[in-house]
Subunit: 343 residues, 2 copies
Amino acid sequence: MNLKQLSEILGLSQTTVSRALNGYPEVSEDTRVRVQAAAQKHGYRPNSRAKGLATGRSMVIGHVIPSSSRHEMVNPIFGDFVAGAVKKYSEHGYDMMFTNADDTSIEEAYRSLFQRGAVDGVVLQGPKVDEPRIEVLTRMAVPFIVHGRSTGVVGQYDWIDVNNKSSFLRATRFLIDLGHRRIALINGLEDMDFAQRRRDGFLEALRQAGLSPNPELMRSAEMTEVYGHHETRDMLGLDNPPTAILCSSMISAIGVRRALDESGLELGKDVSVIAHDDDLSYLKNGQDVPIFTATRSSVRNAGEMAAEMLIERIQSPDDPTKTRLLEAELVVGRSTGPAPNRI
Amino acid sequence: MNLKQLSEILGLSQTTVSRALNGYPEVSEDTRVRVQAAAQKHGYRPNSRAKGLATGRSMVIGHVIPSSSRHEMVNPIFGDFVAGAVKKYSEHGYDMMFTNADDTSIEEAYRSLFQRGAVDGVVLQGPKVDEPRIEVLTRMAVPFIVHGRSTGVVGQYDWIDVNNKSSFLRATRFLIDLGHRRIALINGLEDMDFAQRRRDGFLEALRQAGLSPNPELMRSAEMTEVYGHHETRDMLGLDNPPTAILCSSMISAIGVRRALDESGLELGKDVSVIAHDDDLSYLKNGQDVPIFTATRSSVRNAGEMAAEMLIERIQSPDDPTKTRLLEAELVVGRSTGPAPNRI
DNA sequence: CTCAATATTCAAAGCGCTTTGGATTGGCGA
DNA sequence: TCGCCAATCCAAAGCGCTTTGAATATTGAG
């Protein structure tokens, strides 16, 4: 069933039917009702490609997934961010499109997605330091929003980010206040912007307390469970192991916990752990009492906000750039306690 | 830059340029090279909406996400399945589209997605028992594939599924062979088809061993970490607690482990645990030695296969239906051991 | 050198929608 | 009764591409 057929059934022109359906005023209320009833009855749905061709807008927002099997984006966080975003998209009549790109040509993927008219805007996830895609997107004049920021990129762009530095500063200070001196950082991949900011916060807190950082206690890699486990085991084997661990992800923190268990160490007593908690729906940080003391910020929520900001940008391309910095909440659970009195 | 402009630059007709770019034979090799060079140089990309309108195909495959915040689909598994699928899609020139739907109208969402021409086919994820969407999609004659199956649905359709029954039967038998008699099942939501099949396998193994199932030891809900923890705590408090637990997800199994730790019970000694492991990239079941004894089947792999099967279906709508049953592998880790000798 | 056969190229129609510019109708005051 | 303004409705153009049917250029056999 297409417009033409529907209009023939109704004995009206395509113009009138189209207008009736799209809420234009130059059509009588009677006909509008009649048209809507008929459309309903025959299950008419305007062809979105034709509509897009005619209007010049696709009502689709694009995301790019790097194809390498292990990468920051196809992770548990991804699902929650997307769930938040897609909800807002649909509230505004947008769909969501994913394209795959091998790591070498992510820029190319964005460019293609937009220039061939497949999407009205894009979301840039997982920005690295000096992220080149930002400049590319700016130059292309495609509406976009960055989930995160990118140190080293000059120029304005819309972004939404957690205040990674302040939250890790706060978490580190919390550990220091508990008497910990040998504090480890199990961080995400170093070239990711968020990881860098977290490290900055961590180092800043040490500096403020007059402590000097120990490179042996600073690890970084893809934030898997196995990684958290592996690094923890490794550090526990040091001559002078850490009494506290700051961990960039709940997933890795689970690995940390496993390593502690294996070593017969008690979480929150022998070793304190603070994790960053993205508040994933499938991996809640406990019910009433948090499992881990954590810096918490809902990534699903961030997805919703990102979606709304992007849609605003699409609708008003000339507005000044908007940015949003979310403060993570420090929730205190049972994974932290006073530093043990070792000799 | 559109076709018209490009053809004017080249002094050729749109027809010829289009054919040169799409590899049709009725264009000389010289012009083809010239056209391709020019297209490259000017960054020409055919408008996908226009192309879709003209060809009647959108080169997009649709997925529907239920909007309710907690649901089977927006979970860690989702990310890996999608990553697998999108990789294959892009190899075949397809993009992936997500639409959101509130739980009441998932059918409606599929219908709309296809009938308005937005997608060439759809993937149906998380089928329930007697899944109504299957019949809807069949009637609409939209190419689709089900990830999973649906007990109670008559008629043929393409699907790819893990042999949930046999893997849980095998896992249960393995526990029985170790001497366990009080075996608990922490399953997914009961109305999900996979959960039902797993329960069937579990019950079948008990039956074969002459054991009678204990309703108190059979739990089902959304497979979160907190859920695994909660049910385990609860069951450990029973007069006669289980000596082994079969768990439908790694995530929940982590919660199980936490509950055991809290109770001072040793995993694999006091209580044995077998989990179903979807082989998620961020939640590998250990490195060399598996953390949990598990029934393992890569969901990412399933995503890839599903994508390929769907694309075949789109290309040959009249082929007989294809189905694929994957056998999970039983990997033995350190979470299982002989049943303890309680009085 | 001709002419049919083949190799290239092109003009125009069509995909299903929106939207511009115009036509038609009815109502109402003069 | 006439004229004018709203209120409705419509025909046709256009979005950017593919594809049909036809035209033109080239080739090779006779």
